[in-house]
Every structure is written in C-alpha cells, then in structure tokens.
C-alpha cells in the first residue's frame, strides 16, 4: 500500500528494479511509498537529513556510516534506484538463488556481497584493506567516550593480530571473510521482508 505517489513509479521502472535487485512487485511499491514518506522535500531523492529524521537511526552508533552507504561517492542525494540497490544487499538468500549459482552474475544479496558491504563499512578509503586507523574509527563510533584510547588501541591491535595472516598489519577482504567464515552472514545480514 502506498501513498498516491506510487503512481509516480512507472511499470518499466518497477520491472528494471525487479531485475536488478530481485525484490517482488509488491515489495517495490511498498518500499517506494516508504521512500516517498521519508522524502520531505518531495524532490524524488533523499538527502542525509531525511535519514537523520528517523529517531531510531539517529541514535544508532553507526548511524552515520549506514547513511553514507546509501550515497554514491561524493553525492548528496540518493534516488529510488540507488535506495533499492543498497537495500537489496539485505534481502535474504533464498534457496532458488543458491541453486542458480553464478549464472546471471553474483546477485546483490549473495553471501560474498553481504560481506563486501560490511567490509566497506570499515574500509572508508576503499583501498581494500582495513587499516588500524579505520578499525579504530569504527570502534570509537561504537563505544563513544566510555573506553580510553589505550584500551581501544589494544583491542584494535588484538583484532588485527588475530585476523592478519600475511603480516601487513591490515585486514584484507579475504582475511575478513576467513575470520567470519563460521558466522551465519546470510541470516544476520538479512531482513525478512513480508510478502
């Protein structure tokens, strides 16, 4: 169900988004009405302030990073296509997806893409490595003022030590996946959409 704005979303657009993201028709229309209700400026795109208006997101320690993930490099607005592409990472991995294999290219919500998405939350400069500084930044966001620099530093050092296999004092994407290979990423980074 949506506001009258759903009539602004054309059938061709819905079909394209369906192919790109794998969401169903009704999910796309519902998410469009959500997009529209967040878009206070009614200009067809969301800004960072629009996201900040969600109180539960504003109090999330990683809220700013999560919001950033929606915005392409250097841009201040995200349109509906971009919004859906980001959300598509959190679609559950259905059985038929698993069976399809890599026939149509890796779907956005595959395990690897989910992990890559999480990896990018740490790796801000996109150099495919999580450096000590980048790790510290995320840690600092999550703990606020409650832990001292020294303690936090030693936590970061320990984490890198355990994950780093090639001795470069950074965590690469393959090291990242190795550390988390037993974690149920499919379930923990998925949102159960109704219908």
């Amino acid at each position: 169900m949506g506001s009258r704005a759903s009539s602004l979303l054309r059938e061709e657009d819905i079909e394209e988004i369906k192919k790109e993201t794998g969401f169903s028709h009704s999910q796309i229309t519902r998410l469009y009405s959500r997009f529209h209700s967040l878009d206070k400026g009614e200009n067809g795109a969301l800004s960072r302030e629009d996201f900040q208006r969600i109180p539960e997101l504003a109090i999330n320690p990683l809220g700013d990073r999560i919001i950033n993930a929606f915005f392409p490099e250097g841009e201040d607005q995200v349109n509906f296509r971009g919004f859906m592409k980001t959300l598509a990472h959190f679609r559950p991995v259905e059985d038929n997806e698993k069976n399809k294999g890599l026939s149509s290219g890796e779907p956005l919500n595959s395990r690897m893409n989910k992990l890559l998405f999480a990896f990018r939350l740490y790796d801000l400069d996109r150099d495919d490595k999580i450096s000590r500084d980048e790790l510290l930044q995320v840690l600092r966001m999550m703990v606020g003022v409650n832990i001292s620099d020294e303690q936090l530093g030693s936590i970061a050092d320990r984490t890198i030590q355990e994950a780093d296999t090639n001795g470069d004092m950074c965590i690469s994407f393959s090291e990242f996946t190795k550390v988390l290979e037993k974690v149920d990423v499919e379930q923990k980074m998925s949102i159960r959409f109704l219908h």
């Binding site: 208006r53 109180p55 109090i59 703990v143 037993k182």
Partner: protein, 449 residues
C-alpha cells in the same frame, strides 16, 4: 429579481428552523432522534459492500498490489546483548563474554537498515493506513479503478458529503460556536452561585453537543462510573483538537492552554467568564513553576471543574501513545486517565499540523463520512509511595495504551519537529562498551603486547 430573493430567504428560514428543531433542540436536551445512527448503519453496509467488491476485483486482476496493513518487514526483537551474543557464538575465538569481534557491526548494520525500511516513530506522525478503502479520495492509496458500481457509489458519496453534509455541518458549527460565546457571556453576568455553575455547564455541554452533531460524531462512552471528578486532572491521548469536543460531550472540564488571538481568543475570553479555565500567556508558559502553581491552585479548589490535559503535548495518529510529559503528574491530585480511539474507517481524525492548517483540517473533518470513536474512562490513579513523576506518567500511559488497543511507545511526540537527544545514542554506546570491555580484571590480565 425580488421574487428570487424572497424565495431564497424563505428557503433559508425553512432550512434554519429545520436545523433548530431537528438538531439543535435535541442536542440541548441530550436526546438523539436516531438520524446519525441510521446514517452510520447505512454507511457501514455500503462500505462492507465496497470492500467485498474491491476484494473480488483484486482476485480477478492479480497484477494489482494486494492491500495489507501489516508492516513491511518482520523484525527480531532481541536486545543488544542477545543479538551480539548470537553473532559471536559462531566465532572461533573463546571469548569469556567480552571483547570485540569484527562481526559485532552486523548487529548495528541490520538494526539501522531495518529502521530505514520501517521505524516505530515516523509513522505515528502521518495518518494511519487503512486496510480497505472507505470511498474517500483522500485515503485512496493504490486503490485503482475496480468497477463502475464502486465508482458510482463513490461519486454519490462525494455529492452527499460536499453538497448536503458540508453546508449542514458548517451551519451547525457556526451556531454552536456563537451559542457558546453568547451563552457564556450571558451567564457571566450572574453572581457566583450554584445556579451560575449549572447554567454554565448547560451552556458548555449544549455547545459541544451541537459541534459534535456538526461532525456527525458517534461517541460511545465506557465505564462512566470512572468519570473525572472535581479537583482532579483528566489525562487523555491526543489525536486532534476534536478530542476536546469528544470529551466535553459527556462532562464539563476546565481547559488548559495558551491565550490566542482572533476567533479563538474571543471564545477563550467568553468561556472564562462563566467558569474558570486556565489560560496562560505565552511568557508564563515558559516558567514551569508558574504553570504548576496555577494548576495546583485550581485543583485545590474543589468547586472548580476537573482540568483536561493532553500530556503528549502534540497530536499523534491514534495508533500509539507516545511519551507523557511529566509536568502534569507532578502537580499532585488524582489523575483520571481516559483513552480515546477513533475508528479510521469513517474519517481520519488525526491532525497532521505539518500538512494542514486548522481551517483545512476542519474542512476535511466536515467532509468525511463521520467521526466514530470510543472513549474509555479508566479508574483514577494516584502517585504511589516511592514513585517519581516519570514512572507515574509511564504507568498511566501504559494503562491508556492497553485500554485503547494502542502501541505504548516511550518516544517523545516532540520528535515530530525536533531532533532526538544525543543521550540516547550515548546510552547505546555505553551498553556496547560494557559488552566489549567486560570486567576490568579481564583487560588487566591481557596487557598490551
């Protein structure tokens, strides 16, 4: 030309006398001639038919999106500790309950995305979504053309609402309000006495009854034995300014509010002549002590009417109850909670002040089918020993939410306009910190390498 004017004036007089006899007089005496009940019955039948017809149409055309008012997503309701604990369980490191792992961020990620898709707060500031269409264009969300008959009924509905009901309702509202101003001013000339109080009550109730007729309001009051008494404070959930009309149809209250100019100001000044209401100047409202003192003085006087307060401080869309401001609960005095629940099928009563100003809101009300609501009077509550105002406020809020079938939220209704306080984020950070640092001795034993 003359003849046309004569006919027009005769028609007008007939119209007016019909209104007076059929609507005003019964309203004064609290008698119902049954028109509204009949109207509601017909309306219910029509809407049910329309719903069935629409559902049938949807089954025949499967490309139409199906209507479902359930949420978009299904959420896990675990606490931070539970969820992160689950994440870490599969981690090869033995943790002894503390320390950081790379997968901890998944919890915040998922929560963040869930809240972007659907959150508990922002949806409360817009009108409730309906499960099935109620033949009003304004609630036409995705309800496409289904059949000729539904469209005809809808067209008929538009005609009835705009051409028949709207003028009638505007007339009634005008009569009601002018009656209030004139009546209270007249009563104000009497010396203070019991007679004056009863007359004042009569004038107030009559006016509100006429206004209620002016909205085709059908109100069902439950548990009338718990009605607020003098010297008490009546507390209710707030959906729209019409709440006042709804409550005042069944009892007399002392209103609390800011002094306005214009028409509101005229009404306020005349109301206060016949019985004491509590009107504050804008400057006084900032000083919490002044406000509290005046309210305390009012309820200390047992001859004065119970105060009516809406502790949420702003209009919410009647699907939930948001944080009650503790100010009203610090005054002392017995609290009489009241739960108000509107039936959105007949007309959406929520005032979205960001979208509509007062006049357009009232026009929308008057062109809806009707206002149907239930009012529950809850048993009076008092501050318990050792309980502070905030806990008391929450207790009252839960009781109201429970009775009205509303979601009980602790979020502040002020979030409609203001940003959320940083202290909530700091709480989250603190909670997480205690998870990764654990007890201090653990840290000391592992020192820096």
């Amino acid at each position: 030309m003359e003849g046309a004017w004569d006919i027009a004036s005769v028609l007008f007089q007939v119209w007016l006398s019909m209104v007076v006899v059929l609507i005003m007089l019964p309203a004064m005496f609290g008698v119902s001639l049954g028109f509204t009940d009949l109207y509601i019955k017909v309306l219910v039948k029509t809407l049910e038919w329309a719903t069935r017809r629409i559902q049938r149409g949807q089954n025949e055309q499967p490309t139409l999106p199906s209507q479902s008012a359930n949420g978009i997503i299904e959420k896990d309701d675990g606490s931070m500790e539970e969820e992160i604990g689950e994440l870490r369980r599969s981690h090869p490191k033995s943790l002894a309950g503390a320390d950081f792992t790379l997968c901890d961020v998944f919890y915040f990620w998922k929560k963040g995305i869930e809240n972007i898709v659907e959150d508990q707060v922002t949806q409360r500031f817009t009108s409730e979504e309906l499960v099935s269409w109620n033949l009003l264009t304004r609630t036409n969300n995705n309800f496409c053309y289904i059949s000729v008959r539904v469209t005809i009924i809808w067209g008929l509905g538009v005609f009835i609402r705009y051409c028949i009901l709207l003028p009638l309702r505007i007339t009634l509202a005008a009569i009601g309000l002018s009656w209030l101003v004139i009546g209270t001013t007249l009563v104000g000339f009497l010396p203070n006495s019991n007679v004056k109080n009863s007359l004042s009550d009569l004038v107030h109730i009559t006016c509100y009854r006429i206004c209620a007729r002016g909205l085709s309001a059908t109100i069902r009051y439950h548990n009338k034995e718990n009605r607020p008494q003098k010297g008490g404070i009546c507390v209710a959930n707030h959906t729209s300014p019409i709440d006042i009309v709804i409550l005042a149809n069944d009892g007399c209250y002392a209103m609390v509010g800011q002094v306005h100019g214009g028409l509101m100001g005229v009404i306020q000044r005349s109301m206060v002549r016949s019985c004491p209401h509590v009107w504050f100047e804008r400057s006084e409202m900032k000083d919490r002590n002044t406000v509290a003192k005046r309210l305390k003085d009012h309820i200390a006087d047992k001859t004065k009417l119970p105060i009516l307060i809406f502790p949420e401080g702003t209009c919410i869309n009647n699907t939930s109850v948001m944080m009650f401001k503790k100010g009203s609960f610090e005054i002392g005095g017995t609290i009489y909670p009241v739960a108000i629940k509107y039936d959105p099928q007949f007309g959406d009563a929520f005032w979205n002040s960001a979208k509509y100003n007062m006049v357009s809101y009232l026009l929308r009300m008057m062109t809806s089918w009707a206002i149907v609501c239930n009012v529950w009077y809850l048993p009076p509550m008092n501050l318990k020993n050792g309980e502070d105002a905030v806990l008391f406020a929450n207790r009252v809020k839960s009781a109201i939410a429970n009775q009205g079938g509303l979601v009980d939220l602790s979020w502040d209704g002020g979030l409609k306009r203001a940003k959320v306080k940083d202290s909530y984020k700091e709480e989250q950070q603190k909670m997480y910190s205690s998870m990764i640092v654990g007890s201090d001795c653990h840290e000391n034993s592992v020192g820096p390498t």
